[in-house]
């Protein structure tokens, strides 16, 4: 029998923190991966920086940092305060919550499907949510997409995809193919609706078809902001099970994980987040691909970077929106087009690079 000093640390001191060991006999012990902690702090710093820049720069006026801060606290000139608090801050918040929601949904779905391509956008959830949102816009003439409609659309698309395949299955190929088909049907429905209505109604629905932070309905932002924190907590709670579920269903079940239930929980969270995020910004699905990939590059291998993906998604969304506003100012490029421009090469890289095709 070797003494503990001779054997390697199964949990290496240099790679992990053991958080909250409350005394010798206390059961509260949480493993925190040092690299993931560092990655999350880095992403959080980046997010704060980008949010600050977004508040500063705009077509109305580029304010100095002190002026921005004063306006943020309601202490500046009335004009500055209006620009910051009424125009820019809601937009930045909308960007953070939608980006975080899309990327968290993407991270969860990629993990349960064991496939990097299985993001909500690619398996048709975005299109389902968009079709329902557009239907409500062109059908009723109200220029609001009720989050409930988009949520229903995402759920219908998920139910169809799930129903067609029965289960997400090994490596998720069938799920992916069925999802692409379901997404195509909903995409076609959206186009059909837009061609059958008046040009004004089609114009009102336009932001939801390309993805933009311009037409964000306040109540949709509120619903998403309320849903995101519990969804993130659920994701963090599921991380332990998802980390083992990455191996294989048989191993996970043998280790005591209710694989089916875990998968349904992750999928449900992803559907809710996607539906509510589409209601705010339209189908900016590429964030669900870019965010988790960005987080995975920064995080420790063989972990499921739930928090990292959420932060990275928010970073990508705010950065893309900022780029879209700055590049051809004063003309604004919708954020959905900017993320598609960044995301498409990434998608091609994943498809063509055999190493990237491995399960997330």
């Amino acid at each position: 029998m070797t003494s503990p000093a001779d054997t390697p640390n199964a949990v290496r001191q240099d790679k992990y923190y053991l958080a909250l060991p409350l005394g010798q006999r206390a059961p509260l012990r949480v493993i925190v991966d040092k690299r993931n902690l560092l990655a999350n702090l880095l992403l959080l710093g980046l997010l704060i920086l980008l949010a600050g820049v977004s508040l500063n720069i705009g077509s109305a006026a580029s304010l100095s940092l002190p002026a921005t801060l004063r306006a943020l606290l309601g202490d500046g000139s009335p004009l500055d305060t209006f620009v910051i608090q009424e125009l820019r801050l809601p937009r930045v918040i909308a960007g953070i919550v939608t980006g975080g929601a899309f990327a968290l949904a993407g991270c969860l779905m990629q993990t349960v499907a064991r496939n990097r391509l299985a993001t909500p956008g690619i398996v048709g959830l975005d299109n389902g949510a968009t079709a329902f949102a557009v239907a409500s816009v062109v059908g009723t003439g109200i220029s609001l997409a009720p989050p409930a409609m988009a949520l229903t659309g995402a759920a219908v698309a998920a139910a169809l995809t799930f129903g067609l395949t029965g289960r997400i299955g090994v490596r998720g190929y069938r799920f992916l193919v069925a999802g692409i088909g379901v997404g195509a049907v909903f995409g076609a429905l959206t186009q059909l609706m837009l061609t059958r209505v008046s040009i004004d109604a089609a114009n009102a629905a336009y932001p939801w078809t390309v993805g933009s932070l311009n037409a964000r309905p306040d109540h949709a932002v509120l619903s998403l902001s309320l849903a995101l924190p519990p969804a993130l907590l659920a994701g963090i709670w599921l991380t332990r099970s998802l980390t083992v579920l990455r191996l294989s269903d048989a191993v996970a079940i043998s280790l005591g994980i209710a694989a089916g239930r875990c998968r349904m929980a992750a999928l449900s969270v992803a559907v809710i987040l996607t539906g509510l995020a589409v209601a705010v910004a339209g189908p900016v699905g590429m964030v669900a691909l870019i965010g988790p990939e960005f987080a995975r590059q920064l995080s420790a291998k063989n972990t499921v970077p739930v928090v990292g993906a959420t932060l990275a998604g928010a970073v990508v969304m705010v950065a893309a929106d900022l780029l879209g506003r700055m590049l051809l100012a004063p003309i604004e490029i919708p954020v959905g087009i900017v993320t598609a421009l960044i995301g498409s090469p990434l998608l091609l890289w994943i498809l063509l690079n055999p190493n990237a095709r491995t399960a997330p």
Partner: protein, 290 residues
């Protein structure tokens, strides 16, 4: 003696790390297993002896892997029950069952760059919870599992950089860290060369010697005779022979299982039966064998 732990045992402050080393008996009663509408096993009654190595053998498609899937709750029975210590495994929460019963699937795949220590750590999963992700007890058991499988020097190496035998030992180490009294293995030596096969079989034997009940599905009848205490021969979903390998394996059984003729001799060293002069039967040559 039963080990039906109360449900409240789950998250008590005192870690229930005392290994359940009383060899349990595993049995099936009227077990029927099917994939979709295809019935593979029907109404099977089986006793798996406690504290021994049981080998399940049979031709391809005889239902032996299906049986293992049923025993390990991967496949829900169409009828009948799987009993562990007299209790239906379906009536136990999957996490509680994971402290009593471990399964090693056939050729499991480890994600890229996962280290041996990280893999073995997963074995502690059923004993942990979100608020108690690691304990000194966990560390001791993981280190012990690495030690038992001779993988201590390789603990920080990626699993996919190991040889086939080392890789299989790493997976077995994960199952050891799970500290279950029963271990099910699906073809633990497939795709391994002779040296690595022996490495794995001897490890399995030492686990049985330490009190575990082992059930393994294997292809190689000679290895089954050499390393198992109990042999179960399956053909088309039925158990057609079971017992001590030396008494169970006959030329007649080999003909029924695999459609080949052979002669049997006794291994002068181990006393296990050896197959020799193996050739196809006339039936097989006529193409009329089942």
């Amino acid at each position: 003696m039963t080990h039906d732990a109360p449900a409240c045992e789950r998250d008590t402050a005192q870690p229930d790390t005392a290994p359940d080393m009383t060899a349990p008996d595993m049995a099936t009663q009227g077990l029927s297993l099917a994939y979709g509408s295809v019935a593979v096993i029907e109404d099977l009654d089986l006793q798996l002896p406690a504290g021994q190595v049981t080998a399940i053998v049979g031709p391809n498609g005889c239902g032996k892997s299906t049986l293992l899937a049923g025993l390990s709750r991967l496949l829900k029975p169409r009828g009948g029950t799987v009993l562990l210590n007299g209790t239906d495994i379906r009536h136990q929460p999957t996490r509680q069952l994971a402290k009593r019963l471990a399964l090693l699937p056939q050729q499991p795949h480890a994600p890229e760059a996962l280290t041996v220590a990280e893999l073995v750590r997963f074995g502690r999963h059923p004993h942990q919870s979100w608020l108690r992700q690691w304990s000194p007890e966990d560390k001791r058991i993981v280190d012990e599992a690495l030690d038992m499988t001779g993988l201590t020097p390789l603990a920080q190496r990626p699993v996919d950089a190991l040889s086939g035998g080392q890789r299989q030992r790493a997976w077995i180490a994960m199952a050891i860290a799970q500290q279950t009294a029963t271990l099910l293995l699906d073809e633990p030596t497939s795709a391994l060369d002779l040296g690595h096969q022996v490495e794995v079989y001897e490890l399995i034997q030492s686990l049985a010697a330490s009190g575990k009940t082992i059930v393994m599905v294997i292809h190689d009848l000679v290895s089954a005779c050499r390393y198992a205490d109990h042999l179960i021969a399956m053909h088309q979903g039925h158990v057609i022979a079971e017992g001590l390998p030396g008494e169970t394996v006959t030329p007649e059984l080999v003909r029924r299982l695999y459609g080949v003729e052979c002669s049997l001799i006794t291994d002068p060293v181990t006393g296990a039966p050896l197959l020799t002069n193996i050739r196809r039967t006339r039936d097989a040559l006529d193409g009329s064998a089942t």
